[in-house]
Symmetry: C2
Subunit: 215 residues, 2 copies
């Protein structure tokens, strides 16, 4: 049983990732990681320098990739709704395709030691700010109708994060469909409401681009 390939630093990280995701950093013993690789605990130190380093690698890499994803997703897009849709799509997709990483990032930042912790938190803040600024921009130019941009951006981001908690690859929805569904939900959250119960104070230049169709 078990594939029994040669142990590499990457294999250790993968084993750690799955265990951290399931039981948390503090809830996972190095002996369990070793057992999964069918080696003894001290042998892990041929591939890593500490347990903490395993955690740091996962969180730094993931946080960096999230920010890169965002930058690439919005690059070249003009319409702010398109940019928000693309940002949400790629963020949601990541949480469906990288469930374990996402779970660890969100459950175990507290277990990170400085200075890595601050770096990770800074990367996350940058991403949050990027999304929030899109919402602020769309609200300012009248494309969106949002009362609390910060609350709305947290709501959008966190429902995407939650995908990691319920998504299953064998479910009825593919990762891509799930991502698309979240982009749609996000655009609904910022869209103008039906029925004129919310008077559009500044309808300048906005014909009826309200649709999310992009071609």
């Amino acid at each position: 049983m078990s594939t029994r390939t040669t142990v590499t630093p990457d294999a250790v990280r993968r084993a750690a990732l799955e265990l951290f995701a399931g039981k948390g950093y503090h809830g996972t013993a190095l002996s369990e990681i070793a057992a999964r690789l069918e080696i003894r605990t001290p042998s892990l130190y041929n591939h890593i320098t500490s347990k903490q380093e395993l955690l740091a690698h996962i969180l730094l890499q993931t946080s960096t990739e999230v920010l890169d994803d965002f930058d690439h997703a919005v690059a070249g897009l003009d319409d702010v709704a398109e940019r928000l849709g693309a940002a949400v799509r790629v963020y949601a997709l990541r949480h469906a395709t990288h469930r374990h990483e996402a779970l660890v990032v969100n459950a175990d930042v507290a277990a990170l030691e400085e200075p890595v912790r601050s770096r990770v938190l800074e990367l996350r803040r940058r991403h949050e700010r990027g999304v929030r600024d899109l919402i602020i921009e769309g609200t300012a130019n009248g494309d969106f109708d949002v009362e609390h941009p910060a609350v709305t951006s947290f709501g959008i981001l966190e429902m995407c994060v939650a995908i990691a908690r319920w998504f299953h690859e064998d479910g009825s929805l593919s990762a891509e469909d799930t991502a698309e569904a979240h982009a749609e939900l996000a655009l609904r959250m910022v869209a103008h409401r039906l029925s004129g119960d919310r008077p559009v104070s500044d309808p300048t230049d906005r014909e009826l681009t309200a649709g999310k169709r992009t071609t």
Copy 2:
């Protein structure tokens, strides 16, 4: 320094709650709980029977209250949008006013031992199902326009859960305003869209009641 009141089982639970919320169940040592109460670790056992019991109490109580909240919130309301709004409002409010409980529930279910773990998960599933059924009902009778009820209900619920991660009592929004903002977001997520870019494949009986206006 410190209030220095007599230690009670409830005081132990409160100290444990704050520490679990900040560092997780496995990341918190009983010695830290004792230190916060200015007693020695073994003295804790005059008030509790085990560390695990502390966790079980927090999670069971919170999960039970969430379900009670839901039942009371929707009771007596007729309109499905009103019921969904009320359910979201009360759930969001709890996550703003009981941040620590919410953080522990979501981070440390995995640390719960059986059979309590199964009971807690069952309570959570019941609540999820309650909200999802509202969305299904509203979609079926035409009040809502939702393509993926399960995804939508997870999205709504999880953005509320996330409140516990970012809400601060001294922020610009009160707990009540935050709850109201989330009810609004949830209703947007299920509402009919502006402009007919989504061809209504089955327009039976749904003329253009598209609005969510009731009565």
